[in-house]
């Protein structure tokens, strides 16, 4: 599951997009981790100001469930999405201090993640990097559509739905915020960033002068 690796976009846009993943490993430390996973939800509830989405694959995302709901579900993996480095840093600091012993993975600008690690006394252990898209790339849509749809690595947000949302914004049937929320609802595990999607939709709908 490399579903948060291929988020495209320019540096300014990606400054609004950091995903934190919590994952016990079945062969090493998953046994007895369910209580710790619940504690993660409590921790996240204290950082909600910086969080724009969350969820897990087996249950659903923030549009369907509250943190309190998800705390009581099967939590073999957790996703939390931050809208800026400040929110991520504060949360990661507390996770480090609590020493849960569960693997933490951050998707986002490497230079920022590396700086945050340095600031709070962590060393990046392993990195995954995207080398882009290959093959019949002429089948891919416009880059801005990809900047939105790649925020759901399971591809539950269709390219065509982005076009429909932009049209409905221009037809005054939805606001950019409502359209971003509708797109985000389709991403089952809550890795989609509706905050960033709203900013991209504003540009796509011609509502902002670049």
């Amino acid at each position: 599951m490399t579903h948060t690796l291929h988020r495209t976009g320019d540096t300014d846009s990606l400054q609004m997009d950091f995903v934190l993943l919590v994952l016990p490993d079945k062969d090493f430390n998953a046994e007895g981790s369910s209580e710790k996973m619940k504690q993660f939800w409590d921790l996240f509830s204290r950082h909600q100001g910086g969080i724009v989405n969350y969820g897990n694959c087996s249950s659903g995302n923030s549009h369907r469930f509250s943190i309190a709901d998800l705390k009581e579900t099967k939590n073999s993996i957790l996703n939390v999405v931050f809208k800026d480095r400040g929110g991520l840093k504060a949360c990661l600091q507390e996770i480090k201090d609590r020493d849960f012993g569960i693997s933490i993975i951050i998707s986002g600008l490497y230079e920022e993640v590396r700086k945050i690690c340095d600031e709070i006394g962590l060393s990046p252990h392993t990195v995954g990097v995207s080398l882009g898209f290959h093959g019949k790339t002429e089948k891919l849509p416009d880059n801005r559509v990809l900047d939105i749809t790649t925020m759901c690595g399971h591809h539950m947000v269709s390219h065509n739905l982005v076009g429909k949302m932009v049209k409905e914004i221009n037809d005054k049937k939805r606001t950019c915020n409502e359209a971003a929320t509708e797109l985000s609802k389709q991403c089952v595990c809550g890795a989609f960033n509706p905050f960033r999607a709203e900013k991209i939709l504003e540009k796509m709908a011609g509502l902002m002068v670049e």
Partner: protein
């Protein structure tokens, strides 16, 4: 996925929710209704999950072998039951895309210094693929002598020596699947160049990933190798920050 023609009112609201663009309008008894192209449908349940149908006309029929592999490789809420019958041992609940890759590397030690992980995510982003296109790549990897990662559901359907995919599923269409393996750093440039060469032989796209241990000074050893092979590394990465315990030994 299916749409009950007796219930569908032809509002077409569901059409743009399909990641594969498989829903279109057709002539029904009383005007246009929506229908799902069964060749293109990957059984991801996106249309059903969207809950946009005003008459609850969308439903999932029981899926039999080999069509069930569509749901397993396309719907993140479905586990890899077929792959398990072919020997796959699922990690962590078996949902999502079915592999830990580097996410727990701080405890598993799967990717060690001097090695790089490579993942070829066929069909991604959002175009989809047949297993026949996957086979084109897996056969090329087999010719290079590459062994695929056993803890990955796709590997269960691929012959180790030839790279051939189980024949029954060759023409099934899915959203994406990951060919995943580990190579020595010294082999990486050549492997990447060979992967680029095979990209012209498929009728879909793939996303290419590299995984590696970070050097003690924070630098990433594969960045320069990827560049030498003609690839651009993304500025956004996925980083395991080393908080898992017990920590794997180097």
């Amino acid at each position: 996925m299916r749409i009950d023609p007796e219930k569908c009112v032809g509002c077409m609201e569901c059409q743009d929710y399909c990641p594969m663009g498989a829903i279109s309008g057709v002539e029904g008894k009383d005007g246009y209704i929506s229908e799902i192209n069964q060749d293109d449908c990957v059984e991801c349940s996106g249309c059903l999950r969207s809950a946009v149908c005003p008459t609850d006309a969308i439903y999932m029929p029981e899926l039999e072998w080999p069509r069930c592999v569509r749901a397993e490789f396309s719907n993140p809420a479905v586990s890899y039951t077929s792959a398990e019958k072919f020997g796959f041992r699922e990690p962590g609940g078996g949902l999502g895309r079915g592999t830990y890759e580097m996410k727990t590397n701080d405890v598993s030690g799967r990717f060690r210094r001097g090695f790089a992980g490579v993942a070829i995510e066929v069909g991604r982003p959002g175009i989809g693929t047949t297993f026949r296109d996957i086979q084109t790549i897996s056969m090329a990897l087999a010719e290079m002598g590459i062994e695929l990662e056993p803890m990955n559901p796709l590997t269960a359907f691929i012959d180790k020596k030839t790279g051939k995919v189980t024949e029954a599923i060759l023409d099934e269409t899915i959203l994406s699947a990951i060919l995943e393996f580990i190579v020595r750093i010294e082999q990486l440039k050549e492997v990447l160049q060979n992967v680029r060469a095979v990209s012209s032989k498929i009728d879909t796209v793939f996303a290419l990933d590299l995984f590696t241990r970070v050097n003690e000074d924070g630098s990433v050893p594969v960045f320069s190798i990827a560049k030498e092979a003609g690839f651009t590394c993304s500025q956004a990465t996925k980083t395991n920050v080393g908080l898992g315990r017990p920590l794997a030994k180097d």
